[in-house]
């Protein structure tokens, strides 16, 4: 069950599932859980995201996103980053192996005490999503050929 919620959160973040709208009645359990976990959070706003709710907020001058299940459990925390915010091994690997691609999306995701990074790389023909679970290497999460005009 937890895995399913995680997968749903990931698909929302990667943009493969659709968001609902901003007009959300905040899930009370999620809000309580959020206030406990992120006591220093500022500029908090909530969105409905599929079967979950998503909090967008600022913490230590970073914009973060927290995803909660309907039962108020924290599923994942993410933040968008730039390549130079990646651990050295991962950014070096991108420079070495994907020099001909550009980065169109990159985020850090913490779920269940584990940190993963997801990067979307594109060139004229392809779009590749890579995932890192170990701070040291990338694996292909998704690969698609771009439609020809």
């Amino acid at each position: 069950m937890k895995r399913t919620i995680f997968t749903l959160a990931l698909s929302l973040i990667l943009g493969t599932a659709s968001f609902a709208n901003n007009d959300v009645t905040i899930n009370q359990k999620a809000e309580q859980s959020f206030k406990k976990e992120f006591t220093q959070a500022k500029d908090v706003s909530w969105q409905k995201a599929g079967e979950m709710v998503k909090a967008t907020f600022t913490l230590n001058e970073r914009v973060l996103f927290a995803y909660y299940s309907e039962s108020g459990d924290l599923v994942a925390v993410t933040r968008n980053i730039t390549p130079d915010q990646l651990p050295i091994t991962l950014v070096s690997s991108l420079r070495k192996n994907y020099a001909e691609f550009w980065v169109s999306d990159l985020f850090e995701m913490v779920s269940g005490g584990q940190t993963n990074y997801y990067v979307t790389l594109e060139n004229a023909d392809q779009k590749i999503v890579l995932k890192s679970e170990d701070f040291g290497s990338w694996s292909t999460y998704k690969k698609e050929r771009k439609a020809e005009d």
């Binding site: 050295i88 420079r95 701070f135």
Partner: protein, 150 residues
């Protein structure tokens, strides 16, 4: 034996960040391994730091980096300076918990045996603490220096 090299590299990363030793002639196989790994490295400077460990400081992609090799030409550690914005979320969370009220003066990212960790130097009214923070958020004090003591 490999553990010994890693400990030596860690100790060096804690104690010194700048190039301290005399220039040394480094074995070709070590230089070759370095050039293969860091093809775009600029201005490498080598020193021997004992226990069969060689330290090279260089610039790559506008960053000053350090690498440590053993005499079998194996890369045993890489280090670079990072700022707080480059830290993973779990590391930041640990620093906020452990060093609230302290000033973080230096952070070095360290990769040893494929494990990434962060050496954080923080100071407060009592002195200086150097801690190693792991990507899981785990925390280990490496060194404490009280004010007035070397």
């Amino acid at each position: 034996m490999k553990k010994l090299f890693v400990s030596a590299a860690l100790a060096l990363a804690v104690v010194t960040s700048s190039f301290a030793g005399d220039m040394v002639k480094v074995d070709k196989k070590i230089q070759s391994a370095f050039q293969k790994e860091f093809a775009s490295a600029f201005n490498p400077r080598w020193e021997s730091v004992g226990d069969g460990v060689y330290h090279v400081t260089f610039t790559q992609n506008s960053e000053v980096m350090d690498a440590y090799y053993n005499d079998d030409a194996e890369l045993i550690s890489i280090a670079r300076y990072v700022n707080q914005d480059q830290l993973p979320l779990l590391v930041t969370k640990t620093l906020n918990q452990k060093f609230s009220g302290s000033e973080i003066t230096q952070i070095r990212e360290l990769v040893t045996e494929n494990e990434t960790s962060y050496l954080v130097t923080a100071k407060n009214d009592n002195g200086i603490v150097i801690a190693r923070v792991f990507t899981s958020g785990g925390f280990q004090i490496v060194k404490k220096i009280k004010n007035g003591k070397a």
